[in-house]
Symmetry: C2
Subunit: 230 residues, 2 copies
Amino acid sequence: MSSDDRPARLGRPRVVPDTASGLSPRDQILDAAAALFVENGFSATSTRAIAERVGIRQASLYYHFAGKDEVLVELLTTSVRPSLDVVRGLEERVPGSVSAAGALAALVLIDIDTLARTPHNIGTLYLLPEVQGDRYQGFRADRQELQDTYGRLGTRAATEDVRGAVPPALLGGILIQLAETVIQLRRTGEVDEQDREAITGACLRACGLGAAAVVAARREAEALLAAAAV
Amino acid sequence: MSSDDRPARLGRPRVVPDTASGLSPRDQILDAAAALFVENGFSATSTRAIAERVGIRQASLYYHFAGKDEVLVELLTTSVRPSLDVVRGLEERVPGSVSAAGALAALVLIDIDTLARTPHNIGTLYLLPEVQGDRYQGFRADRQELQDTYGRLGTRAATEDVRGAVPPALLGGILIQLAETVIQLRRTGEVDEQDREAITGACLRACGLGAAAVVAARREAEALLAAAAV
DNA sequence: ATTATCTATAGATCTATAGATAATGC
DNA sequence: ATTATCTATAGATCTATAGATAATGC
């Protein structure tokens, strides 16, 4: 209706006119907060700093969120959920149409891609000490479920000697830790195909698979993901 | 001289009389800060909270440290240095008296033990976002050196297929990440022999070693460490 | 009328400095 | 005299609330 140099949005106009990012105010806050939390940490990031980056006043933040906590909760949960959803479907197909090693490789690839593509490397937030607090219980439960899946699939894929020496819970911890190498890699640069292959390879080898089995599992996973066509 | 219920220390006595921990005031501060930084993070920990835990007034902290930053710097550096020192000597002996795989296994074991024994799981501090700042450059350089050593030893120990697919820098990142699984394990409980074996095993396997080679490398590493007799 | 912002501000921090003080050491 | 603490406090935050205001929607 109006000429396109003004968005004609609801509510009192901002002092700083909004940079037409296409995001809703709520998402603008999430995005700004993510960048700042990742760079400076949660406690070191003030609501004022977030608001400033968005281009609103500090108090306006409270119209959208009850507080900083709520912002972090939302960032955390929206970052594990995608992996978790895909994974739930995946596990049911083992060992019918999919081998355990293939499913594990697929899980690792999904997780790597999720982490590699989050805006501002949000995965870093998992590492914040604040996330140990009660408020983030829900997120931690989701992440634990992901880790348990790593443990189950890893154990099923593992060779006898590994299975005998490493219980599922421990293997899960090791594998998820490996997958999250992506988070560290992103701190220094882009994540490329070589990185993805190295990490999936390390996961499969950690389960005891040899060179040939690694290749086979990777091939199976790629077919799986192509079929799922996310 | 005085009766043993009073330490008769120098300086004005504390309001809270000191719990005879044997630590110097400086070390008491470091210890209290470590516990709080690990639990709540750096920025969320006030100088007041540290002082309270020590049993001194907030301002007294500044007699020993110029600020919170200095405390963190000292905690970080004293936590990587030990691993680094041992490791420097180790690498020179490859491939003379020690195989690359044996040296890598030894490195992993040293690192695991260092991390498993730090008071309050100080390794957690590596993950704080604040540590990315300029003030902690020195620590990051030390840690990078450790990571580079992982990369070099890992590459030398690796089988041909792994060496062909994973450059040293990337392998170093993966291996150090694996070793630091200990940090996560300590968050939920004690680190035991099974954990140590699982992690060293995962590192060696990630380099492509098979079951027999893993056993051999581990044996070699244990002999090495027994000889070094730390 | 509803929405999304704004201004203003109270109250609670938090850091770092200035200067006093209560011990021991010489 | 030296040391290690103390008390007091300035100045700079920071969070969250109250209430006003400038748009659109009906």
